[in-house]
């Protein structure tokens, strides 16, 4: 077996040193009648055999890069420079542990410090943590943090919030006494979605969670929402599932957010069928000690040289146990590395340029689809994603287009089954979408509708 270095001779010598004759004597604490069960699984395979087997499985899937592709709704196909994936595979990054021994982990710690700064700058907030599992789990952590800060229990989830995110919040708070008020989605009237969130805030509200751009793509000014929240001593949590939008649109911090939660996949990370991704989590200085997750901070070593360490860990489970701010243990280190490398390659200039190209692709897509009979564009504002109302069931249309080799978007019914949105389709166009792709989709829609 190519991964197991011990030889039969080694094993024999080691058993002798230990003073037993057979390896199973080391397993003597396991009840004998259950030891060494028959395991009905295949025997070992060579590298070549495994590669062949898994490649065949992979070939049954349609890769995003192989077709005209307009699927988004919280996960986006972007071009990631080759440098990113090459660098994260350096063994010193890939095979390192959490940097609890800072003398031999300054590589990880410095990039986390840089990552935290980049995320704070992007979101327009004071501080960010070392990342969460993903945007959806980060969102539920933010709701719980708002409760700790405000000592109030009622969280309002706006209709603009991705259905999965709202479900994750509901699931993770079902055994606490938190009260979750989930507002209805309204793709045709985003301003009404915003007004409904404003109206729902009262003195008992701990936080209001608003996604911007919303799950149906609209971009809104959240200042009125921030104002109403703050009047009621509630926190505004802004969710950003398309972090690339921050290169073009005013940041949540500038709009008055108290906590920003983001899905960072778009920068540096591939689609990966939904994971691993990375949650971005940023807030203002005064709430730092209520933040969940790992934090990296600057310090000096015994020689006075600048260095970095994980810090403020008295919030965390390995110190506080049942009194911790969260049970979270890990972050999403390697995905955060991919994010920070891509972000460093982009810089503000590149980010703004790529963001603008995303918006341009979506504008072109909107213009093309507006000319198709049976398609009604619902958004007046958007970044790289918008929703349309179709003259037919959207899921049926998407399946018919998939048969033609076009991946046309996410039917709203996939996220909101039974929600009366069967004719709504959410489409994304990133910088990877070409004019030919848009033409193919418009032509396909004309045939199918």
């Amino acid at each position: 077996m190519r991964y197991l270095p011990l030889t039969a001779t080694d094993r024999q010598q080691m058993l002798e040193k230990i003073g037993v004759r057979h390896v199973d004597e080391l397993f003597k604490d396991i009840p004998n009648d259950v030891l060494n069960p028959e395991i009905d699984l295949p025997r070992h395979k060579s590298e070549m055999e495994v590669e062949r087997y898994l490649s065949r499985m992979a070939a049954k899937n349609t890769a995003a890069g192989s077709v005209p592709f307009f699927v988004g709704a919280g996960a986006y196909k972007h071009h990631v420079p080759a440098t990113v994936d090459h660098m994260i595979q350096r063994g010193e990054f890939l095979t390192a542990y959490t940097p609890y021994q800072p003398e031999i982990a300054q590589g990880t710690l410095q990039y986390i410090f840089e990552f935290q700064t980049q995320v704070a700058q992007l979101t327009g907030m004071d501080v960010a943590n070392a990342s969460m599992y993903d945007g959806s789990t980060g969102c539920s952590e933010a709701v719980m943090m708002a409760r700790r800060v405000t000592r109030k229990k009622k969280a309002i989830l706006a209709g603009s919030l991705h259905a999965h995110y709202a479900s994750v919040v509901e699931t993770t708070t079902q055994f606490t006494d938190d009260v979750i008020e989930r507002l209805a989605p309204n793709p045709a009237a985003p301003e009404a979605e915003l007004q409904a969130a404003i109206d729902a805030i009262d003195a008992d509200t701990s936080c209001v969670v608003f996604q911007n751009p919303g799950v149906f793509g609209s971009v809104l000014d959240l200042r009125p929402l921030a104002e109403k929240a703050h009047e009621n001593k509630a926190l505004l949590i802004v969710v950003v599932t398309e972090v690339m939008s921050l290169g073009l649109i005013e940041s949540p911090g500038e709009m008055g957010a108290d906590i920003v939660v983001g899905e960072g996949q778009s920068i540096g990370n591939g689609l990966n069928f939904g994971g691993p991704y990375l949650g971005l989590f940023a807030t203002n200085q005064k709430y730092v000690r209520q933040m969940p997750g790992r934090l990296c901070g600057e310090t000096v070593d015994a020689d006075g040289t600048r260095g970095f360490v994980l810090t403020l860990s008295t919030r965390e489970q390995h110190i506080r146990r049942e009194k911790a701010t969260s049970n979270i243990c890990t972050n999403s280190g390697l995905c955060a590395l991919a994010f920070t490398i891509h972000m460093t390659l982009l810089g503000e200039k590149g980010l703004r340029g790529v963001s603008l190209a995303n918006h341009k692709a979506a504008v072109d897509l909107r213009n093309a689809l507006s000319a198709v009979d049976g398609v009604e564009v619902l958004n007046s504002s958007f970044f790289n994603e918008f929703s349309v109302k179709l003259s037919k069931d959207a899921a049926t249309v998407v399946d018919a287009l998939a048969d033609k080799g076009i991946l046309a978007g996410v039917p709203a019914s996939r996220l909101y089954p039974g929600g009366g949105l069967d004719d709504v389709l959410i489409l994304a166009a990133t910088e990877t979408v070409s004019a030919d792709d848009i033409e193919a989709l418009a032509a396909g829609l004309k045939e199918v509708l």
Binding site: M1, F27, S55, E103, G297, Q317, I328, L334, C335, V363
Partner: protein, 511 residues
């Protein structure tokens, strides 16, 4: 050819006394200094192709970002150097023995990386039509089959994002099952040796946490457990093999007692590496157990994630698993994405850590049923070899045999002036990552050594030589070797108190 070295042979040269100088560059040979990107780059620089889009009318509701963002860019050559230089300040499994107890730092096969990057796995969207992701559903089904077969459990939830998230999934299923039968219970029992995530998870699900005492042999005190078990106890959370590296030899009696009280048995599967292919938790009365795919099944730790924490369930709990999950249909596979009344709901957006599923299945297929058992045996053999080889110079906390990790405490350092922390830092000078220290909490100055199956006997012998040497130095009174250690690492000990007292969590220009 850059130089005609025929005429200029190099030789060792004279040893210089005067080596204590600062270089003009701040570099020290191959130890290259590297500032922060904020000190290197500028917002005018970029290392990517910026698309040219021309003039067009924006449709972002007049909300364009006018203020500077501040993120510097680096051109590609400088970016490559920046991260290459940073990487060289890290220790990884690729560099040497990484005996971090409880963390299972085994070799990360590169085949797994290659497989996860196949476009058919790496470049598919979680919400694209199901007809276009049949291979992904097949992979998830196959991984589920392996996990269920290895544990002898009937159901698995793949989606939890990490071990602690898996614990949450498991305890929520337990609470869902209890509530479904109208049985409100308040307490979860955990041993004092438990991982911190166990009590944190229990508290998160609204339970009070009570400790179970251990016996002198490092195992749960069965009689005390029986006494603590009553109709207020929802579950017992136990790690097995436990955090002292020992198998709970009364596991059956423990499971029976838990079930007799109407409670559930949650097993923390962090240490499954010791028993995979050797014993199935399903045969031992476990109701739920999470895996850490990044420990047992070799997906990279990545400097702190991403992890992946699937949970297997018994028949009593399987109705409560979270969505989504894969089911077999006549056409092949389908996803169930919407929760019914019994399901606990949804724990993550999309389908969980697909990238980790591919890597874990690649590991499993490579090893096969025979290789998996052999890996567990080798892991246990290596740990017992450490125990046998160091037992005379360090103090083992419990009598062996141990499972996949060997626990020592600091009695052998008594009166030497050397602490567990010092000893660990001295291991860095020896070229090793320290073992886990001060965990578990049940022994004084714990040192938990887990070599894994990835180490050859040659590596083990070198490691043992170092450890014996250090133990000898400590007992011989050479405190200095320890008190300032590490001396040979790129950084000296860092001031963690300063970091916590005056938190600087981001770069600012006022610094």
């Amino acid at each position: 050819m850059s130089m005609n070295n025929q005429g200029r042979p190099t030789s060792a040269g004279a040893a210089s006394e005067n080596t204590d100088f600062e270089s003009f560059s701040g570099h020290k040979g191959l130890r290259l200094a590297e500032p922060l990107i904020f000190e290197l780059g500028s917002t005018e620089t970029t290392g990517v192709d910026v698309p040219e889009v021309g003039e067009f009318e924006l449709a972002i509701g007049g909300l364009d970002r006018k203020n500077p963002i501040g993120c510097p860019g680096l051109p590609e050559p400088d970016a490559v150097r920046h991260y290459t230089r940073l990487s060289r300040r890290n220790y990884g499994i690729d560099m040497g023995v990484f005996p971090l107890g409880s963390c299972t730092m085994k070799h990360n096969p590169r085949l797994n990386e290659k497989m996860a990057r196949l476009p058919g796995f790496g470049d598919i969207h979680p919400l694209q039509p199901k007809s276009t992701v049949r291979g992904a559903m097949q992979l998830m089904d196959e991984l589920s089959h392996w996990l269920c077969t290895l544990t002898g459990m009937p159901a698995v939830a793949l989606s939890p994002k990490a071990g602690a998230h898996g614990e949450l999934c498991g305890v929520m299923a337990i609470r869902s099952a209890l509530e479904a039968r109208g049985d409100a219970r308040e307490v979860i029992l955990c041993p004092e040796s438990a991982h911190g995530t166990n009590p944190a998870t229990a508290a998160f699900c609204g339970y009070k946490v009570k400790a179970i005492p251990a016996k002198d042999n490092g195992r749960v005190d069965l009689e005390a457990l029986k006494e603590a078990l009553d109709d207020t106890v929802a579950a017992v959370m136990l790690t097995n093999p436990n955090t002292c590296g020992l198998f709970e030899n009364e596991i059956r009696e423990i499971a029976d007692a838990i079930h007799a009280a109407g409670a559930f048995f949650y097993c923390d599967g962090a240490n499954f590496n010791a028993i995979m292919g050797k014993a199935r938790p399903g045969d031992l009365g476990v109701d739920a157990m999470h895996f850490n795919l990044h420990k047992t099944f070799s997906t990279p730790h990545g400097g702190g994630g991403p992890g992946s924490g699937p949970v297997v369930f018994s028949d009593a709990l399987k109705a409560h698993v979270p969505v989504p999950f894969v089911v077999k249909t006549e056409e092949g596979f389908d996803f169930v994405e919407d929760a019914d009344d019994k399901s606990m709901g949804r724990l993550v957006a999309y389908h969980g850590q697909m990238g980790m599923y591919v890597r874990a299945l690649s590991y499993m297929l490579s090893h096969g049923s025979d290789g998996i058992r052999q890996a567990a045996e080798d892991a246990v053999l290596n740990a017992n070899y450490v125990l046998a080889s160091l037992g005379d110079v360090m103090t083992a906390s419990f009598e062996g045999p141990c499972m996949h990790e060997a626990l020592f405490d600091d009695r052998f350092l008594k009166d030497t002036g050397v602490t567990t922390l010092d000893f660990a830092k001295a291991m860095i000078d020896e070229g090793y990552h320290p073992m886990t220290m001060y965990f578990p909490l049940v022994v004084h100055g714990a040192m938990l050594i887990e070599p894994t199956e990835s180490e050859s006997k040659f590596n083990m012998d070198q490691f043992i030589t170092s450890m014996r040497g250090l133990a000898g130095e400590a007992k011989g009174g050479n405190v200095e070797r320890f008190s300032g250690a590490p001396y040979h690492a790129p950084w000296k000990r860092l001031d963690e108190t300063l970091a916590a007292r005056k938190p600087v969590l981001r770069y600012t220009t006022e610094d």
